[in-house]
Every structure is written in structure tokens, then in C-alpha cells.
């Protein structure tokens, strides 16, 4: 189960409309209806599953995502702020990439701004939003989210946030190091040497 795979081509910038399966401008009533249907299906899947640690984590994350999607998309103000932040981040990423490709003098400033906004976006719209949605009465009623869920979800959401961040960083220009050149066949020979010499 790969919780980091994008629901659509969201570039790692979590897209709650795609997660819920509604249009970007869906009405609050439609958002609620789709949420309830999706949550019923998820609860049914949970009850039918043979639970393992990995499945528990997966289901918990799916529940948190649906709750966050409802909480955000049913409120016009919240939704508009989220969409604006997301669009700005995508644009800033593009500007930074272009500046690096063209050797622009402002690439370091753009990178810092982008890094700051990316951390803020992921923190606010992944971890914080999902935990806040877990206290919302409408979400509680449908999902049965409680203190135990929140306790288990906290490290899970932190891991999910960092994994999304890494997914994004993986495609960005190198800045902390010069681009590495790795000879992978040679690396495999090195792996065999390390194993033969033994682990400590």
C-alpha cells in the first residue's frame, strides 16, 4: 500500500478535491454527500479487512484525508485560501526551476522563499488540517474519529508530510549538494564488497 502515490497529477501538493473525488468548485452539499458515501465505503473496508499494522496505518491515513477534505472543501473561505496557497507554490516552483536553468541571480532567494512556503503548506494543509478535522463534529459523527485515532495519527501524519516533501524535492534542482554522478553498476559491486567484509 503506497500512501504517497498521488490521487492525480497533484505534483505532491496534496489535492483534496481529487482525494474526495469532486470538482474544484463543488458545492458544500455535494461535498458532504460524497464524503459520507466515501466514509461509509471506507468503514466497510475496515470492518472486512484482516488487520495488520500496515493496513491499520493505511486506513487511518485514508480516514484522516477524507475528514480533512470535508473540513476544507465545505468552507468557501478555507478552500479559497488553500487553492491560492497551492497555486502560488506551483508557480514559485516553476519560477525557481527556470531561474536555475538560466543561471539567474535570484535563484537562491527564490529557493528560500519556496522552501519556506512548501514547509508551511505541508504543515498547515497536511498535518494540522487532518488533526483539526478530527475534532470537527461532522467528521466525528461519520468516521468515529477519537483520541486514540489522533494519538496514532500524529506520527503517521508527520511521516506522510515528510514523505510528500521528499517526493517534491526529488524532482527539484540540487541545492544542498552538487548534482551527484553515481555509477550504479560500480555501486552494486561495492555493495557486495561491504557485505563480504561484514556488518558491524
Amino acid at each position: 500500500m503506497n500512501d504517497t502515490q498521488s490521487q492525480s497529477d497533484d505534483l505532491g501538493y496534496i489535492d483534496y478535491a481529487a482525494i474526495l473525488g469532486v470538482d474544484d468548485d463543488a458545492r458544500p452539499g455535494d461535498v458532504r454527500n460524497v464524503y459520507k458515501k466515501r466514509m461509509r465505503e471506507l468503514v466497510r473496508d475496515i470492518s472486512e479487512a484482516t488487520m495488520t499494522e500496515a493496513k491499520r496505518s493505511h486506513f487511518l491515513l485514508e480516514m484522516a484525508k477524507l475528514n480533512a477534505a470535508l473540513y476544507l472543501l465545505r468552507d468557501r473561505e478555507l478552500r479559497d485560501a488553500y487553492c491560492a496557497a497551492r497555486a502560488h507554490l506551483i508557480e514559485l516552483e516553476r519560477d525557481w526551476r527556470e531561474s536555475v536553468e538560466q543561471g539567474g541571480a535570484d535563484s537562491e532567494d527564490l529557493r528560500r522563499e519556496y522552501d519556506r512556503l512548501l514547509r508551511d503548506f505541508l504543515s498547515r494543509y497536511v498535518e494540522e488540517l487532518m488533526l483539526t478535522a478530527g475534532t470537527d463534529p461532522e467528521c466525528l459523527e461519520s468516521s468515529g474519529w477519537d483520541a486514540a485515532h489522533a494519538r496514532h495519527a500524529a506520527p503517521l501524519l508527520r511521516r506522510y508530510r515528510h514523505t510528500l516533501q521528499l517526493q517534491i524535492i526529488a524532482r527539484l534542482p540540487y541545492f544542498e549538494v552538487t548534482p551527484p554522478r553515481v555509477d550504479w553498476p560500480e555501486r552494486e559491486a561495492w555493495v557486495n564488497r561491504m557485505i563480504s567484509e561484514g556488518a558491524r
Partner: protein, 377 residues
């Protein structure tokens, strides 16, 4: 109070050859912290700083005369001084922004760290190069291949290095390298006091025990699953090798384990005699313990090799798990009177015991006591 006059300090650039040696030392030592420090904002290697590498307080960054003669150091120094790399280094040390580290040196640093078992340092180096997962997966692939060839030594080595390069993305506030954390996990393993024999970990069916033991010693369940799909013989060989690689001092523990087991068996035999001879004693376990006249903490003291003043069972368990990680798999919690302590436990028919030297102790524990003489009331 008189005001202190500020010193008129001028930047004192360090000698470039000393800077090169400091960088080469960090590479050869596999020390990512010192490597980053040399390029950092407050580094004594920067030309605009009043600090200098010649200052004795930075001697830890510089190689000894012995280290300078080693082939690894000479190779690293040549790499540092290669024209393109040195030009980049000079530029980064002079720039007034976060440095861009030279990737070829960082990759070499990571490799040296792996060779020396400094997996957290290697993980950090590879992570910033964005190659950590790929390198880690190659170790796991090699581990699986060696498992298929029934080569337990290579398989365990591969899995341990791969796991050593793991990263904990749930760590707060920033992701950090994964570490085994045996004291914490041993406590989780023994969180509930056993009420029935099947609750005691060492008494479980060999297949169940091996699955749990391999997961505990590896530190995660996914690879334990794939290892436990191998034939039993391979699993046992893998487990035995894993015990010895996780605990190079295992044989010393085995001796103390045998001593602690013999002592506890002697107590158990005496308790059975007392209970056989006195109907009233059978009713009150507290009285039995007091009649025994021994301090139950003597057993965990022997297991650990030292006493913890007023030590509770969990203190002994944590210390034991730190010194000998696999030891937590062969003890269980026990009450004697009012004292709870950890005691040695083994299952005689567990095939995993013989390769790790615990079979003789298992036979001792399984021996029946000599028949008690009849006592007149």
C-alpha cells in the same frame, strides 16, 4: 566597572593545505557532522572568520600524523585537491550563503561511514544526495539473494546495513536516521506480565518465536516477513547469525544466563519441596518466598553482570537489552513474593537454541528435580 575594550580582530584565513586535510579527514572518518561543520557558516575554514584551524580547539578536525600516512587518507586528499573540486570548495567557503557541498566527496564519506559501521552518518550523507533509498534497496536485494543461497552470514550483513541506512520520517521535528532502540522495544515486548505459559515469549512455538525474534532484532516487520518465508533451517541459521552480529559479546552473556538459570532452578526445586511438605505454604505464595530467604533480584543481577541499586525489573530489562539485545527474547517477568524480576526462560524443543549456545541451559531447566523425601507432619 570599567568597560572592556573590544579586541581588534582581523580575519585569519586558515592554510589551504590544512583545510584540505581537514576535509579529507572528515571523508575518511565517515563523519558527516564535521564535514558539514567545515563548510558551515561559523567554520574556521572560511576566509572571513577570525577563527583558524591552527587553534588547538579545532585539533579534532585535523588528521594525526599516522592517519596522514594511510592509503585511504592519501586517496581522499587527492580527491579533495583535484582542480575542479578544490575550486568548488574555495568558492563555497568564500560565498555568503548556505554552501553547496561537493557530492563526490560526500558520497565517498558515506561509503567510508558504511565500511566503519557508522550507519547514521552514512544515512545522512546519502539522504542529502537523494541516493539513500536506492542504495538501501540494493543492500536488501543482496540480502534476499544471499538468503536464497542459504548464506546466512552475507544475508544478515546485507539486511543490517540496509536497515542501518533507514530514515525515520516520523521523527520530530525533522526526519532523522533510524536507530535500533532495543531498550524501548524490549519494554514493549514485555509490556504485559505473562499470565499463561503461552504468554511467555521463549515458550512460544518455534515458528512463532522465530518470527517475533527476527522482527525484534531487525527492528521492523516487513523484512522479517520475507525472511520467515524461507525454510526453517535457513531461518534458524539467519537468526543465529543475527544474534551474533547484533551482540558480539553474546558468548559472555550465555555463561551468565546459564548461571542465573541454575540459581533459579535451585530455588524452584526448593520451593517445590517446601510446598510438598507443608499444606499451608501452598496457599500463600508470599509466605513461600519469605521461607526461601533469597533476594529474587539476584537472578537479574547475574544476567546483567552487575547490580542496579533498588533496581526494578524494567530497569534490568532495559540495561540488558542495551548490552545484549537478543537477551530480551529469553527472559520473562516473574513474581516471587512481593518482588517482580526478569528470569531466564527457554523451550527445550526450540531449534534456534543450539546454534547460539543455549541448548545446554535448556536441558538443565527441563530436568526434573530429584523426588522429595516424604516429610512427617
Amino acid at each position: 566597572m570599567a568597560r572592556r575594550r573590544a579586541k581588534n580582530l582581523q580575519p585569519t584565513p586558515s592554510d589551504p593545505s590544512v583545510i584540505a586535510e581537514a576535509i579529507a579527514k572528515a571523508v575518511v572518518d565517515g563523519d558527516v557532522v564535521n564535514f558539514r561543520q567545515i563548510f558551515g557558516g561559523l567554520s574556521p575554514a572560511r576566509p572571513d572568520t577570525v577563527e583558524t584551524l591552527a587553534d588547538p580547539k579545532y585539533s579534532y578536525l585535523l588528521p594525526s600524523s599516522t592517519q596522514k600516512q594511510t592509503p585511504d587518507f592519501q586517496t581522499a586528499l587527492r580527491a579533495v585537491r583535484s582542480p575542479d573540486t578544490w575550486k568548488h570548495i574555495e568558492g563555497e567557503l568564500a560565498a555568503k550563503r548556505p554552501p553547496q557541498l561537493p557530492s563526490e566527496l560526500l558520497l565517498s564519506l558515506g561509503d567510508h561511514a558504511v565500511a566503519q559501521g557508522k550507519y547514521t552518518s552514512a544515512a545522512q550523507a546519502y539522504e542529502v544526495l537523494r541516493v539513500r533509498k536506492d542504495i538501501q534497496s540494493r543492500f536488501f536485494e543482496a540480502g534476499r539473494a544471499a538468503l536464497g543461497e542459504r548464506d546466512a552470514t552475507r544475508s544478515v550483513a546485507a539486511y543490517l546495513i540496509g536497515l542501518g541506512l533507514g530514515y525515520d520520517y516520523a521523527a520530530f521535528p525533522e526526519p532523522m536516521p533510524m536507530v535500533p532502540e532495543f531498550p524501548r522495544r524490549a519494554l514493549i515486548l514485555h509490556a504485559e506480565a505473562p499470565r499463561r505459559p503461552e504468554d511467555v515469549i521463549p515458550f512460544r512455538e518455534p515458528e512463532v518465536f522465530l518470527r517475533l525474534a527476527i522482527e525484534y532484532l531487525l527492528g521492523e516487520p516487513d523484512h522479517a516477513d520475507e525472511i520467515c518465508e524461507a525454510p526453517m533451517e535457513t531461518r534458524v541459521a539467519f537468526f543465529a547469525e543475527l544474534v551474533r552480529q547484533r551482540d558480539p559479546e553474546w558468548d559472555a552473556f550465555v555463561k551468565r544466563f546459564a548461571e542465573a538459570a541454575a540459581l533459579e532452578k535451585e530455588w524452584n526445586d526448593r520451593l517445590r519441596e517446601m510446598m510438598a511438605g507443608d499444606q499451608n505454604l501452598r496457599m500463600y505464595s508470599q509466605d513461600i518466598a519469605e521461607q526461601l530467604g533469597e533476594d529474587p533480584r539476584r537472578v537479574p543481577e547475574i544476567l546483567l553482570g552487575r547490580a542496579i541499586p533498588n533496581g526494578e525489573w524494567w530497569q534490568y530489562l532495559k540495561e540488558l537489552a542495551y548490552q545484549h539485545p537478543p537477551a530480551a527474547l529469553f527472559v520473562s517477568r516473574r513474581m516471587l513474593g512481593r518482588v517482580e524480576f526478569i528470569a531466564p526462560r527457554l523451550r527445550l524443543d526450540n531449534p534456534a537454541l543450539a546454534p547460539i549456545g543455549l541448548d545446554a541451559t535448556a536441558r538443565l531447566l527441563a530436568e526434573k528435580p530429584p523426588a522429595a523425601a516424604s516429610t512427617a507432619q
